[in-house]
Subunit: 134 residues, 2 copies
């Protein structure tokens, strides 16, 4: 795998599911296709399950599938479900000994906050249908 891999893995998998929503996939299948490990798949997709995007079932014939229609799932849903953040909020809770650090933090944090909102809004405009397979 590679950089920003959790989000990549999640969106990649959802794209395939959007193209064939009835098929149930095991974490082993998904891992093989994505070139990673089943446990990693379960960890990442687990967040999507908790967010109501996916359903997982144990046992024979178990596996993963979409919890709702693909057109109702946006890229932003996935992004927030994974608790991704470009912002790196950096809340060290360190009492900033220095006034420059103080001012700096406030300025930069506000800009990043705004940018993050822009990102989520833009991601919200696209559903996983637009990256579906088949």
């Amino acid at each position: 795998m590679k950089r920003n891999s959790r989000l990549s893995l999640a969106l990649h998998t959802l794209g395939h599911m959007a193209g064939d929503p009835d098929r149930r996939r095991t974490s082993a299948d998904i891992a093989a296709h994505a070139g990673t490990n089943p446990v990693v798949v379960r960890r990442v997709l687990g967040h999507l399950r908790d967010a109501g995007i996916l359903i997982s079932e144990k046992g024979h014939a178990g596996g993963w599938c979409l919890a709702r229609a693909p057109e109702t799932i946006s890229l932003a849903d996935v992004y927030v479900a994974l608790d991704e953040s470009l912002v790196a909020s950096d809340s060290d809770a360190q009492v900033p000994a220095c006034s420059v650090e103080h001012a700096l933090h406030r300025r930069v944090a506000s800009v990043l906050e705004e940018v993050e909102q822009t990102l989520i809004q833009r991601l919200g405009e696209t559903s996983i249908l637009s990256i579906r397979g088949n």
Copy 2:
């Protein structure tokens, strides 16, 4: 030091310089104030020198100072000088064996590209004067 540390270190230092532009600072001074190592300081500030934001001089009484008036230096100047990128362009040059990966990459890359432009624009609206000390 901590997260996103190159940008933090650079802006922190520039904030102090903006508040007292005539004082020349050695990398040892800066490192002590920032709680890091002189070599790290030289590495980071070296990029700012290459970008025409700082001047460094060797020898006795050498050190670092602003190359131009602080009000002409924006946070975006620093950001691009350090070659920072939220985008993580991820150009693995891997031939995407899979159509979903293809579509996914295109979509996400375009959104990130746009967001990065927004970020740079917003950072460009603020000069290092607004985070100065003293």
